[in-house]
């Protein structure tokens, strides 16, 4: 029940296209869903996060869509750029987990110029 599933494992998108990464969870106690971006040799950096009281959150070219009934959430990157090429991790946490996150396995995104 602690697992967070993430797909696809890897994704190749042309410059200017839309990148979509999906995550699913089982534990209904989760109530905080961040996305992290990691470049090679660096630590993950918080990109955007959502709580289940809203169905969508947008920050610049990055949007999280959240479907509470389906227990799914996704990251959309609009107008994808080569600089967006990185590994993306979704995560989930909840009150019963304190500050502990459960991370998805990651998606390696490559944006072709």
């Amino acid at each position: 029940q602690q697992q967070v599933k993430q797909s696809p494992q890897s994704l190749i998108v042309q410059k200017g296209g839309i990148s979509i990464i999906n995550c699913a969870y089982e534990n209904t106690a989760f109530d905080y869903f961040p996305w992290y971006q990691q470049f090679p040799g660096k630590g993950p950096a918080l990109l955007i996060a959502i709580r289940p009281d809203v169905s969508e959150k947008k920050e610049g070219r990055f949007t999280i869509s959240f479907n509470k009934s389906a227990k799914q959430f996704s990251l959309h990157i609009m107008d994808s750029q080569p600089g967006d090429s990185a590994t993306y991790f979704c995560a989930a946490s909840g009150y019963n987990y304190g500050q502990n996150f459960v991370f998805g396995p990651g998606t390696r995104l490559s944006v072709l110029p």
Partner: protein, 114 residues
């Protein structure tokens, strides 16, 4: 603003040698602190977390240990390294006041065991 520092950035150690990785946080008090390991091309595995000085929780049984001698200092140690200890070690912090706070990561230590 808050910053997190990890060192060293890279480390090559022989099997059976000891290990000490250090992480410090600046600009905040009473943070929650975390150690993660990331295998090549893989996700993040939580190793230890701490909610206060001297308070350490272990998530997986292993050859490693953690200590928090000061509020903003977190140390990952081993008495004898194994080949399987190779990986990318990440320290992270989050605000300790309420739940559902983001975690902020350092730039990691690449550990290679020979």
């Amino acid at each position: 603003s808050q910053t997190i520092h990890q060192w060293p950035a890279t480390l090559v150690q022989p099997v059976g040698s000891p290990l000490s990785l250090e992480c410090t946080v600046e600009g905040t008090s009473n943070p929650n602190l975390y150690w993660y390991r990331q295998a090549a091309g893989r996700g993040l595995q939580l190793l230890f977390y701490s909610v206060g000085i001297g308070q350490i929780s272990s998530e997986v049984p292993q050859n490693l240990s953690a200590s928090r001698p000061q509020d903003r200092q977190f140390i990952l140690s081993s008495k004898k390294l194994l080949l399987s200890d190779s990986g990318f070690y990440l320290c992270a912090w989050s605000a300790g006041t309420t739940s559902n706070q983001p975690q902020h990561f350092g730039d990691g230590t690449r550990l290679s065991i020979l």
